[in-house]
Amino acid sequence: MNILVIIEDSRGSMHRMSKEAIVAAQKIGGNITALVIGDNADAISEELSSIDIERTLVVKHDLVSSYNSDGYAEVVTQVIKSMNPSTIIIGHTYQTRDFMPRVSAKLDIPFIPDIVGLEQDYYIKQVLNSKLNASISSSADMKILSFQSACFSEEDMASGSSGSENIDVNPDSSLVRSSSEEPFQESAPEVDLESAELIVSVGRGIEKEENIPIAFDLASALGAEVSASRPVVDAGWMPSFRQVGSSGSTVSPKLYFSLGISGAIQHVVGMKGSKNILAINKDPDAPIFEIADYAVVGDVLEIVPKLIETLENP
C-alpha cells in the first residue's frame, strides 16, 4: 500500500502534527512517501532524512513558495495523480482545513477529518460536541485522512534513513486567484502559558465578566497562571493571549485546573497533555470529565470562593 504523508511547514521546520501524521502512517503500514512544498523544503527534508519512510518528494515552484490555498490544492492534486497512493495522511491543522477539502473535491475522493483513533477498517471521529464517538468507513480506493493533535505521539516515530527527490509540477498560473499577506500576531503575549507549571483556566461556567477575579484569586493562592477557553475570549472577558486550544496555546502543565469549561474538542486539543487535570463543572456529562483525573461536579461560583477561603485560612 502506498501512503502519501503531506508535511506542513511551520515557520521553517516540520509542524509537530506532521510528525504525528508520519507516526500514523507508520502504524497503518506501507510504503511511505512524504511530500514537502515550498521555500523551506530543503531544511524540512533534512529533518525527514532520519525517519523510517521510503522517500521524500520535494516541490519547488514559484506559485507555492509559501502557503496559499489555490496553489497547494492544485499542486497536491497533481502529486497525488502522479503517484496514485491509496491513502493520503495529514495532521488536522488549520492549513489542512483550508486546502484539503479542495483536493477532495478535485479528485472526487473522501476526506475523513479529525480522526482520533483507528479500529480495523474504521476511523473513529468525535461527534455531537465530543459527547459521542462515531465509526466512519469508506470503500473508496483512495482516501484522505487527517488526524487530531496527539492522536499519535511523535515519541513513537521509527527512525531510519531516506532520501529526497524533486518532483515536477505544472500548475497553471491562472489558477491562483488570491494573494496572501505575511502572517502576524495581534498582541505580544504577557504570559508564557506553554511553560507554566500550574494553570487555572476559565470557561463559560464562570457566567459573567464580574466573576473573572475569582479565577485570578485562585491562581494567586496556588501560584498559577490564568488561561481561558475560546468563548470567554470571544466575549471579551480575557485577552486572546490567554486562550488555550486549537486557536490559542497548547499547554502541558503539572496541573490544569479547569473552571466551568465544557471541553469542546477545540479546547481539549490544547490541554489534554496536562499531567493532572482537575475540572469543576455543573454538568456531570461535560466532555471535560472524560479526560479529567479529578471531576468535581458542582457550581464553580460556590466551590471556588470556598476553596480560596480554605487555602488562605487553613
Binding site: 479542495r102 477532495s104 468507513s137 469508506s138 488570491s178 494573494s179 496541573l255 470556598k306
Partner: protein
C-alpha cells in the same frame, strides 16, 4: 451582491443524547434541534455586508429533512431574503462530498458572488462542506475568517491561523468563505422580522443521491483512557477533597 449562507440544523448542546437501537445515531424524537451555532455568525456576516453595500440579497441554503425549514425561518426572521431547502427524504446524509454535490445542483444557476458557512457543524464536525461547494463551483476559498472587507470584485479576509497568528488573504470573487465564531455579534430576530419571515420564499429541491464516499456506521460512548475520580458531594467535602488533592497528590504546595 448575491450572498448564500449555508446553514445546518443540529442537535443542541443541551439536548439529551440517547443512542438509537441500531447504534446508527441518536434518537431524534427525544432530541431538541437548534441552528448550528457557528452558522449564526455566517448569517450575521452576510447581513452586515448586504447592509453596508446597500443592495443585494442573502439566501439561506440548508440540506436535511423537513424540520430544517425551522432554522431557515429563523434566519429569515433575522433579515435574510429567502431560503433554499434541499430536502432529504430517506436517511440523513453524513458524507460531505455527497452533500456538497446536492447543494451545488440546487444553487449552481444562482451565480452567487459569495458563499458563507460556519467553520464546522456541532454534530458531525467535518468542517469542509462550504469549501467543497466552493471548489465544485470553481470559486476561490478561505477558511476561519475573523474579519472581512468587500472591495468590488474582491473580498479581503483575515484568516485565523494557529497559536494566535493571523493572515490577510485577498480573493477574487466569487468566493466561498468559512466564518470563525466571534467575528461579529449575531443579532436576534425582531418581532417584525418573525412576522415578515412567514411571507418569505423557501424553495424546495430534492437531494441528489450521489455515490457515498464515506459513511457513518455507528456511534458509541467514548471509553475514557483515564481513571477519573468523580467528586460529587456536598460543598464542604468537595472543597476538603480538592485541598487534599492539591497538597498530597498533585503536590502544588
Amino acid at each position: 451582491m448575491k450572498i448564500a449562507v449555508l446553514v445546518k440544523q443540529v442537535i443542541g448542546s443541551e439536548s439529551a443524547l440517547e443512542i438509537s437501537e441500531d447504534n446508527a445515531w441518536v434518537k431524534e424524537e427525544n432530541a431538541s434541534f437548534v441552528m448550528n451555532p457557528p452558522d449564526n455568525y455566517a448569517i450575521e456576516e452576510g447581513l452586515l455586508i448586504r447592509e453596508k453595500i446597500g443592495e443585494g440579497e442573502v439566501v439561506l441554503v440548508s440540506q436535511g429533512p423537513i424540520r430544517v425549514q425551522k432554522v431557515i425561518r429563523e434566519g429569515l426572521a433575522k433579515g435574510a431574503d429567502r431560503g433554499i431547502h434541499i430536502e432529504e427524504s430517506g436517511q440523513i446524509e453524513t458524507d460531505p462530498l455527497s452533500i456538497a454535490k446536492s447543494i451545488v445542483a440546487a444553487i449552481k444557476d444562482e451565480n452567487f458572488d459569495l458563499i458563507f458557512s460556519g467553520l464546522q457543524s456541532d454534530d458531525m464536525g467535518m468542517g469542509q462542506t462550504g469549501i467543497l461547494v466552493g471548489e465544485l463551483l470553481g470559486m476561490t476559498t478561505a477558511t476561519l475568517a475573523i474579519e472581512t472587507e468587500i472591495d468590488k470584485e474582491k473580498i479581503r479576509v483575515k484568516r485565523e491561523l494557529e497559536s494566535g497568528w493571523f493572515q490577510w488573504v485577498t480573493l477574487q470573487t466569487p468566493s466561498s468563505v468559512s466564518i470563525q465564531s466571534g467575528i461579529n455579534q449575531p443579532r436576534y430576530p425582531s418581532l417584525r422580522g418573525i412576522m415578515g419571515a412567514k411571507k418569505k420564499e423557501i424553495k424546495v429541491f430534492q437531494s441528489q443521491n450521489a455515490e457515498k464516499k464515506q459513511s457513518l456506521d455507528k456511534v458509541f460512548i467514548p471509553q475514557t483512557s483515564k481513571e477519573t475520580e468523580i467528586i460529587d458531594t456536598d460543598l464542604n467535602s468537595a472543597v476538603d477533597r480538592i485541598v487534599e488533592i492539591l497538597k498530597s497528590e498533585v503536590k502544588v504546595f
